[in-house]
């Protein structure tokens, strides 16, 4: 295709302008304002907010909890979403029904799905413990036991998240020319060889996007913690976002909240850059 010449060279900018304005007003401006507030804890420019934060053991607990949950949750969601996409990518009768069913969890808001899971995981009346009881297993405090609570948060977020990312992987799989698979089949390639030699390399860009977007979304995870565990038990689910929320709304400490969210921004940007470097290195 040749280059498309537009007679009205301003048209693209006009069309993009509304969204740009919205992004500036609702994303860029609050970020900049938050960074400024974090450096002005007492109305004057200083690092005191960050110094106090780095001396605070609660902050470091939140930092490690955030890293621990995300180190498990991000790969789990990406891998499961990819497997789900592989499953629903087959051409058999009725597959569209399964695509719909797999995607359904994402149609429920995170708030409602947290409420549903909170009810199901309840120690006293939850259906999960009822099922365990049938097999003679003692009721588990999924939301009140330190060994389970962080996994419960991962479960709640992933039940919905995997459905969403599956659709991106499915779109990526649909873009692969089937002739390549046919050639591989003729050459005698089996399922695993096809998967690792053809499929995964060819959806690299999709994987990259899912990884970045998933990382951003999961580092900012808030609803399941606020509704189901409130950062407990014993701070085991007290992620940075929840600590920022408490600082802003319970402690009325806006500079502290702003400092935490600024640090979160730096963490997410750093991880994104590293991911970008790793993937581009493999490409070279």
């Amino acid at each position: 295709m040749g280059e498309i010449r537009l007679k009205n060279k301003w048209l693209p900018y006009i069309l993009v302008a509304p969204m740009l304005i919205l992004i500036c007003v609702f994303k860029i401006y609050p970020i900049i304002d938050s960074v400024i507030v974090s450096f002005r804890p007492a109305g004057e420019w200083s690092f005191a907010g960050y110094i106090n934060l780095f001396k605070d053991s609660t902050f470091w607990n939140s930092f490690w909890v955030t890293m621990k949950i995300n180190l498990v949750m991000i790969p789990v969601q990406v891998i499961i979403a990819f497997i789900m996409a592989l499953i629903v990518n087959v051409n058999i009768k009725g597959i569209k029904l399964f695509r719909t069913l797999f995607y359904l969890p994402f149609c429920i808001s995170l708030t409602i799905s947290t409420l549903i899971w909170e009810t199901m995981l309840n120690l006293n009346s939850g259906v999960v413990n009822s099922i365990l009881g049938v097999f003679g297993i003692e009721a588990q405090g999924f939301l009140i036991d330190t060994k389970w609570a962080w996994l419960a948060v991962i479960l709640i977020a992933s039940w919905r998240g995997c459905a969403y990312w599956m659709m991106f992987f499915l779109a990526g799989l649909k873009n692969i020319d089937t002739a390549i698979y046919e050639s591989a089949k003729i050459d005698g390639a089996g399922f695993l060889k096809t998967l690792f030699g053809i499929t995964i390399p060819l959806i690299k860009n999709t994987t990259f996007f899912v990884l970045i977007a998933n990382t951003t979304a999961n580092f900012l995870l808030f609803a399941p913690i606020q509704m189901a565990t409130e950062g407990g038990p014993q701070g085991s689910t007290n992620v940075l976002m929840y600590e920022a929320y408490k600082s802003a709304f319970r402690y009325s400490n806006q500079p502290r909240a702003a400092a935490i969210t600024t640090i979160l921004l730096v963490i997410i940007m750093s991880i994104t850059i590293v991911q970008n470097q790793v993937i581009n290195k493999k490409e070279r």
């Binding site: 006009i14 302008a17 304005i21 106090n52 009140i144 038990p233 014993q234 402690y251 009325s252």
Partner: protein
């Protein structure tokens, strides 16, 4: 040519829609503001608490109807759960929102909101005689920096409530006590255990023997260490070291943990859910406030007696106290009308109606004395008036009450869920020290 026309039309449509959206919002805002200014004489907005259709919303609606009948001023309410109310007030106040006039304030947050400029002083609206109508403790709790910022709607206290129907079913007699000869916590726990053995030996009914209406909230749970002579916070209000890592706290928290571990008190229920268990007739004994009988969801007969004490600590009985206050937003455009509503709720006929509906303990001297002097006054209110006057133990006085309650609520919940008591206490001290560092 066609493409040029199409692209021009498309661009124009997009531009017009953006402009209309902006103008539309601006117009709506202006209209709203004009309405607020024009109608502010006739309508005020109240942020208050709700506990469901049958609960506080219905009672609040009655109050608003009465106020409108008396003054012609309409009140519109926004209802929020206990947990959300604090967040909403914080969000609206920081944003300097003008869309509300009156707010319900937890007593422990009066100083914080006054310090942050969220609420306006009431000295111009209350005469000295009107201020003197409140009992001293209730009036003082609404004062910050020598100015009255909030008026007390009522005070509160704790009694031991029991489900008479369950006791009858278990073949057990209702407990009685006097201020001089109280039940001990240990005795109540034993009664709870006995009731569970008879009513729910295998746990299939999900009954609870003995629990606290506000489990894992400092408002109520702190009365346990207070009842052993423990304080709530250091005198400077900025430290917990030397206060909660003392014997009263360690002993009382260990006792409470054993109550949960023995299956007498509940585990896994949120604070709201625990109260709902008693309201639904699924709990035998509960430490609760005087609003308990009026909030029952079933017809079970509910009895009460004086709050328990710990064995060997009969002289240091302590009950949780303090309640809700009413204040005026500093951003309100209708402060005069808002003040009328505040006085209606706290001193006027509105307060009489509220006390009658919610059976709360009054914070007005006249009303307290009425109860004490009236031989035919409700027994529960008489007990409550006695406790409010004699065993009430104020909550921690600190500008960091948000941090204090958040950290200690979590500490109580961790202990309830089996965490090591001493480690939980040490963690709470550390966290509070970090929070208080900026103030020291």
């Amino acid at each position: 040519m066609k493409k040029r026309i199409l692209s021009t039309i498309l661009s124009a449509v997009l531009l017009i829609s953006v402009i209309l959206t902006g103008c539309g919002n601006k117009s709506a805002g202006e209209v709203t503001k004009e309405n607020r200014d024009e109608s502010s004489v006739d309508t005020i907005r109240w942020i208050t608490m709700s506990s469901g259709e049958e609960g506080k919303e219905t009672k609040s609606e009655k109050l608003m109807e009465e106020f409108e009948k008396e003054t012609g001023i309409k009140v519109e309410a926004e209802y929020y759960s206990f947990s959300d109310l604090f967040d909403v007030i914080e969000t609206k106040s920081v944003a300097k929102s003008t869309d509300y006039d009156v707010m319900l304030i937890d007593v422990t947050y009066v100083s914080k909101y006054a310090e942050n400029g969220y609420i306006t002083p009431l000295d111009d609206y209350f005469t000295d005689d009107e201020k003197a109508e409140f009992d001293n403790a209730s009036y003082t709790a609404g004062v910050w920096d020598d100015q009255m910022f909030a008026a007390s709607r009522n005070t509160s206290t704790q009694l031991l409530f029991f489900n008479q129907k369950l006791l009858d079913e278990a073949g057990m007699e209702a407990p009685t006590s006097t201020p001089e000869d109280r039940l001990t916590y240990e005795e109540v726990a034993e009664l709870g255990r006995q009731a569970l053995e008879k009513l729910d030996p295998d746990g299939s009914r999900g009954l609870i023997g003995f629990d606290f209406q506000q489990a894992s909230r400092v408002y109520q749970m702190n009365m346990l260490p207070n009842s052993m002579g423990g304080k709530n916070i250091n005198d400077d209000g900025l430290s917990l070291d030397g206060v909660i890592n003392t014997e009263p706290w360690e002993k009382s928290m260990t006792w409470y943990q054993s109550l949960v571990n023995d299956g007498i008190a509940s585990k896994g229920y949120s604070t709201e859910e625990v109260e709902a268990q008693f309201q639904s007739g699924n709990m035998v004994f509960m430490i609760g406030g005087t609003w308990t009988p009026s909030n029952m969801a079933v017809d079970d007969e509910v009895g009460c007696t004086y709050a328990p004490c710990f064995e060997g600590y009969e002289d240091t009985v302590a009950t949780g106290t303090g309640s809700w206050y009413v204040g005026i937003s500093s951003q309100s455009k209708s402060k005069e009308n808002a003040a009328k509503f505040v006085k209606f709720l706290t001193l006027g006929s509105g307060n009489d109606l509220w006390l009658e509906m919610n059976e709360d303990v009054p914070s007005r001297n006249e009303k307290l004395q009425e109860i004490i002097d009236n031989p035919e006054a409700d027994e529960m209110l008489k007990m409550a008036a006695y406790e409010a006057k004699n065993t009430a133990f104020p909550r921690a006085s600190t500008p960091l009450f948000g941090e204090y309650s958040s950290i200690l609520d979590q500490m109580w919940e961790d202990v309830r869920n089996g965490a090591d008591v001493n480690k939980s206490i040490d963690s709470a001290i550390k966290q509070f020290d970090s929070a208080a560092a900026a103030y020291k």
